[in-house]
Amino acid sequence: MKYIMVIYQGDAQERQAALSEEEQKQVYADYQGINEMPGVTSVPPLGQPENATTVRVEGGKALTTDGPFVGMKEAVGGLFILEADDLDAAIEVAARVPAARYGGAVEIRPSEVNW
């Protein structure tokens, strides 16, 4: 199964910034570890949601607004692609994402053609 793993930061960035240097190193090491796991395909890191521009089209005209489609806290923080046997295997990988233990979350979305 192919899963798109969607990382939400929630409060994780603030909480991680308050960690000791040692703990911060662990956070980086954990992300690095996930990138190197078999079955993981990384996606270039997402920049801060406050630098996002959201586009809607109305009457054929592109309308832009500043910021993400949802609120800043609800914005997607990062993505990676995971090839795994089943949902249990994906849950185990998701549980290793640091954001998930510092007030953020990981959403596991099966890759599926909906159209």
């Binding site: 046997d85 089943d86 249990d88 099966p110």
Partner: protein, 395 residues
């Protein structure tokens, strides 16, 4: 004794479906095929007699139906190619050996990636063989809502890749606890008088005990359910709730009490002292005359430490009130919170009534009544209120 058709269906549905899901890897296809096979059996067996091996017959017929369907459906042709390579098919080709995959099925239905409502509905439909309409009526939701819930859950199992397997050792405990929670929830829904759900939960509990014979919590849950259910016929009189003390003990089901105690003994022999074993032990003590309230209070204390549940503390308060008097019970209750829990107020009311503090008792009964929808419980509270105002008027 010849088992009735209904009994055979009841016993075989979960097993046949489990094997089919394992073989086909698709809930909908498996369910359709099983349904067709059972319908054919319902048509033919009364006429031609029940085959020697009903399970093998049902399994073979369902498998043939499923294979036909796959062949007919060209979009699924590639799937058939995949299935042919599956070693399971050889097992299925053998008419006498079918792997029992009910346990895999239970763990799939109770996977934590599904909502608890969906877990409950799926378990009743897929393992228990209840119809969508029966489940909808039992949970007081419209049939289309329940149908939608089941469709969504099955779709998610497939789309999200929820595995069909018994969880590996490091996940087993927490996943088994989720399964037990679903059975417990079904039982609790049935305890308010919907007997078919209580019976269903006990049936599931028995199947689990058969499939996982050495787990004390599985036995403890079954013991607890059997013991509570043994008092079913005496818990209501004329549509009104009857408290334990006032129950007609000759209407308790002594065979079921014995069965419950036997399960409890096994649980304890297996070294169990988890929350279901404790609840089973408490239920067993409640079925004794006279009740050993000190022992019950102590077990509730142990359960409260294990679960940190204020509801358990409330139950402990009832036992403590029996030993040390109503004031002692009230002291525990007053620290619990649980402001919107109707049993907190009905328990407080009962203890206040015993102390002769009628005004306070009346307020507490009224608050309990506000929070109660259930007919039998409401009628009980109404009667208590009437009795109270009678004593207050005469006093």
């Amino acid at each position: 004794m010849v088992a009735t058709l209904e009994q055979v269906f009841r016993e075989e549905w979960g097993r046949v479906l489990a094997t089919l899901v394992g073989f086909l890897g698709d809930f909908d296809l498996a369910e359709e095929a099983a349904q067709e096979a059972f319908a054919i059996a319902a048509d033919r067996w009364p006429r031609d007699g029940v085959p020697n091996n009903p399970r093998a017959w049902l399994m073979r017929t369902a498998r043939n139906r499923a294979t036909d369907r796959i062949r007919r459906d060209r979009a699924l042709a590639t799937k058939l190619g995949l299935l042919a390579a599956d070693a399971r098919e050889e097992v299925l080709m053998n008419p006498t050996i079918f792997p029992d995959e009910r346990l895999e099925l239970i763990f799939t239905c109770c996977h934590p990636a599904l909502t608890v409502e969906a877990q409950v509905a799926l378990t009743l439909r897929i393992l228990g063989g209840l119809t969508t309409d029966e489940i909808a009526r039992a949970f007081l939701v419209p049939e289309p809502t329940m149908a939608q819930r089941l469709v969504r859950a099955k779709r998610k199992i497939r789309a999200a890749g929820i595995p069909f397997r018994v969880p590996p050792a490091h996940l087993f405990r927490e996943r088994l606890d989720a399964v037990l929670a679903v059975v417990y929830l079904i039982f609790n829904e049935g305890y308010g008088g919907r007997d078919e759900l209580a019976a269903e939960a006990i049936w599931l509990g028995r199947a689990l005990a058969e499939l996982i014979p050495d787990d004390p919590e599985v036995r403890g849950l079954l013991a607890m359910m059997l013991l509570h259910d043994s008092r079913r016929d005496s818990r209501f009189r004329g549509g009104e709730l009857v408290l334990l003390d006032d129950q007609n003990r000759s209407r308790w089901n002594t065979t079921q009490i014995a069965a419950g105690r036997a399960e409890l003994d096994r649980a304890i022999a297996l070294g169990g002292r988890g929350s279901y074993v404790l609840q089973g032990a408490i239920a067993s003590l409640h079925a004794e005359t006279p009740c050993d309230w000190a022992q019950i209070a102590s077990l509730y204390g142990e359960l409260a430490r294990l679960t940190s549940s204020p509801v358990v503390e409330l139950n402990r308060a009832i036992a403590v009130a029996e030993i040390d008097g109503p004031e002692a019970g009230l002291r525990i209750i007053d620290g619990l919170g649980l402001e919107d829990f109707r049993y907190l107020h009905s328990t407080r009311a009962e203890l206040l009534r015993r102390l002769g503090r009628s005004d306070q008792a009346r307020d507490a009964y009224r608050r309990a009544r506000e929070l109660t929808d259930d007919g039998a419980e409401r009628r009980f509270l109404e009667r208590r209120l009437t009795e109270l105002s009678a004593t207050m008027d005469s006093g």
